[in-house]
């Protein structure tokens, strides 16, 4: 990065944060602080909902996923449009009618205090963990790729988001998200355009190469339970994951209950239901096109250059450099085969096309084997090294191929994405702690100003917890998957609490509380011992909780504590 890139990064980040704080400086009441400006329209809500979900890892890690595995990750989002329809039709009208600050207030009205606190507590645990990941994830990648100190990168992004979220509350979050999303999409579209311009092949040939290397397999109907992304895991697991996330996660509920009317909130959700799959497709396709680009250009043997340089220093036998040399030779051969393959295709010579494609595939496999071999050597030399470098693919492409100024814009886009999701999380963590625990359990009848101050302190506290987690984190999974795994393990049971509340009116608080506890323990045990796609836990958790609650309620007998009138506390 040169001074122009730094100027773009620093000015855009500070300007958005400062504008958010300045615009919300006069709002002092709890309603404004927790719900924001209740005059916002559907587009602002829609952008805010999308921004909360799309963290930095969506834009850094997902292209790497596309580079490595192709388009199949898009299936992860197949359940989302259906879930958003359910949220808009069932969850949202109820939240607005009860006039709640948090989703968990509803559980208190429908069941009892202990169930409300369980739901809020599970949210705090899983979202608190995820909040650490959303700071850590981009920081580890950006600091490694740019040569910055990891702790300073975490502190810069973490402290900036804490300051404007604590100061401005929900409205500052919504306002800044709008401008942050503008920077993100400006950057991503510019990167895609530059990539297409730089591609040595035309778009048709690029798709032929990507398809020939199995990078365009977007839909898979396999029933293999060990296969992570299929149509079925995406539809069923994705439906439950999205239903939990959008219907019961306070970081999302807080975004869409702030609409000026039910109509605006609903349309904001429907905007996301329509555009999420195309958006994820676009980001994955960007990764696939980066893959195609590197089939025609010299490709890095290992994308995490910093880790590679360290590994080479600790490899006195020179095995790694030998493998890298062999990779370069294989890569050059593969490029020749690809040209033969495309030439044969243009000439209509089917036999030659098939033969050249087979040779190119064989060379690709050989290259991957060499990378795997190097990864094993690196892990053997230093067990702390992560051999999977998919998270570094896109940032490596940006730094190596984009012009200055645009590099700064893309890095600003990654930071903006980190801040926008982080701010919504902190806002939700602070709100839930204030409303569901502090106001409900500690101090019931204080003034608005008191609760606003308390909410600011809790937001600050959660920000510091997330910063602490980020500073000491060490993650093995691809980062976008790490977030989804944490969500899948905890979300299911929280969703079950809401589904039982909505649809099983005879089940009371005691039955659902113990069923939820037992199901959560069961999911944690299964996750530890079973090797199935994590998306299945979004189905297993709720199914177990619903069944158990029915059994326990049958054992307890009819209860007169089931409340028919659900009013906010």
């Amino acid at each position: 990065m040169n001074p122009l890139d730094f100027a773009v990064l620093i000015i855009s980040m500070l300007a958005i944060a400062a504008y958010g704080m300045w615009h919300t400086r006069r709002h002092r009441d709890l309603k404004h602080y927790l719900r924001g400006d209740e005059t916002v329209g559907w587009m602002t809500i829609g952008i805010s909902v999308a921004a909360t979900q799309a963290s930095a890892i969506t834009f850094i890690s997902t292209p790497g996923q596309g580079y490595q595995s192709g388009l199949d990750f898009v299936q992860n989002y197949f359940g989302m449009p259906l879930a958003l329809i359910l949220v808009a039709a069932v969850f949202l009208p109820l939240y607005r009618r009860l006039n709640v600050y948090t989703a968990y207030e509803f559980l208190g009205s429908r069941f009892d205090t202990k169930t409300r606190l369980l739901g809020a507590g599970l949210f705090l645990v899983q979202r608190g963990l995820a909040a650490g990941i959303t700071i850590y994830a981009p920081a580890i990648i950006l600091s490694t790729a740019l040569g910055w100190r990891l702790d300073l990168t975490i502190l810069f992004s973490g402290l900036l988001v804490i300051i404007y979220t604590v100061a401005g509350g929900s409205q500052a979050v919504t306002l800044t998200q709008k401008y942050q999303m503008t920077i993100i999409f400006g950057g991503m579209v510019a990167a895609f355009a530059i990539l297409l311009i730089k591609l040595p092949a035309n778009l048709g040939d690029a798709f032929t190469v990507a398809g020939g290397f199995k990078k365009l397999n977007a839909v898979n109907f396999s029933f293999d339970p060990q296969r992570r992304y299929t149509f079925w895991t995406g539809l069923l697991g994705g439906l439950f994951l999205s239903l939990s996330y959008f219907g019961t996660d306070q970081s999302q509920v807080q975004r869409y209950i702030s609409g000026s009317s039910l109509r605006e909130s609903r349309l904001g959700l429907m905007f996301n239901a329509v555009f999420k799959i195309p958006m994820q497709f676009f980001i994955l396709l960007l990764g696939v096109m980066v893959f195609v680009f590197y089939q025609f250009e010299p490709a890095p043997f290992y994308f995490n250059q910093s880790a590679w340089n360290q590994a080479v220093q600790h490899d006195p036998d020179g095995k790694l450099q030998g493998l890298a040399k062999e990779f370069d030779e294989t890569h050059a051969q593969k490029e020749q085969f690809i040209h033969q393959w495309l030439d044969a295709k243009h000439d209509g010579n089917q036999a030659a096309e098939t033969a050249a494609q087979a040779q190119a595939l064989s060379a690709l496999d050989r290259g991957n084997d060499l990378r795997d071999e190097a990864g094993k050597i690196m892990e053997a030399n230093d067990p702390g090294v992560k051999s999977n470098d998919a998270d570094y693919v896109f940032i490596s492409f940006i730094l190596g191929q984009l012009p200055h100024g645009l590099i700064g814009l893309l890095i600003a886009a990654f930071f903006a994405a980190a801040l926008q999701s982080k701010s919504a999380e902190l806002n939700a963590l602070g709100s839930t702690t204030t409303v569901d625990f502090y106001r409900h359990m500690v101090k019931r009848d204080a003034s608005d100003a008191h609760y606003v101050t308390a909410s600011k302190w809790f937001t600050l506290l959660w920000g510091l917890v997330a910063l602490g987690f980020a500073l000491f984190a060490h993650l093995q999974e691809n980062l976008i998957q790490a977030i989804n795994i944490v969500g899948s393990v905890f979300y299911g049971v929280v969703l079950a609490l809401f589904l039982i509340a909505f649809f099983l009116k005879h089940v009371g608080g005691t039955a659902v509380f113990w069923a939820a506890l037992a199901s959560q323990v069961m999911v944690l045990i299964l996750y530890h011992y079973l090797h199935i796609s994590y998306l299945w836990y979004n189905f297993i958790g709720p199914a177990a909780c619903i069944l158990l609650s029915l059994v326990i309620q049958a054992a307890l007998g009819p209860t007169d504590k089931t409340k028919q009138e659900w009013t906010a506390t």
Partner: protein, 46 residues
């Protein structure tokens, strides 16, 4: 559970999609179209 009785919210304000049921059907149709297009991409280039 009963939906809120808020008549003005029942109007979607969208041309050609006057009820929420029709909005949901439209969104579902967009989802089906997305899957079909992705499936076509998979089949054509596999």
């Amino acid at each position: 559970m009963k939906p809120p009785d808020d008549d003005q919210d029942e109007l979607t304000g969208l041309p050609g999609l006057r009820t929420w049921r029709s909005v949901y059907l439209f969104v579902f149709g967009c989802f089906v179209l997305s899957v079909v297009l992705l499936l076509a991409l998979t089949v054509i280039y596999s």
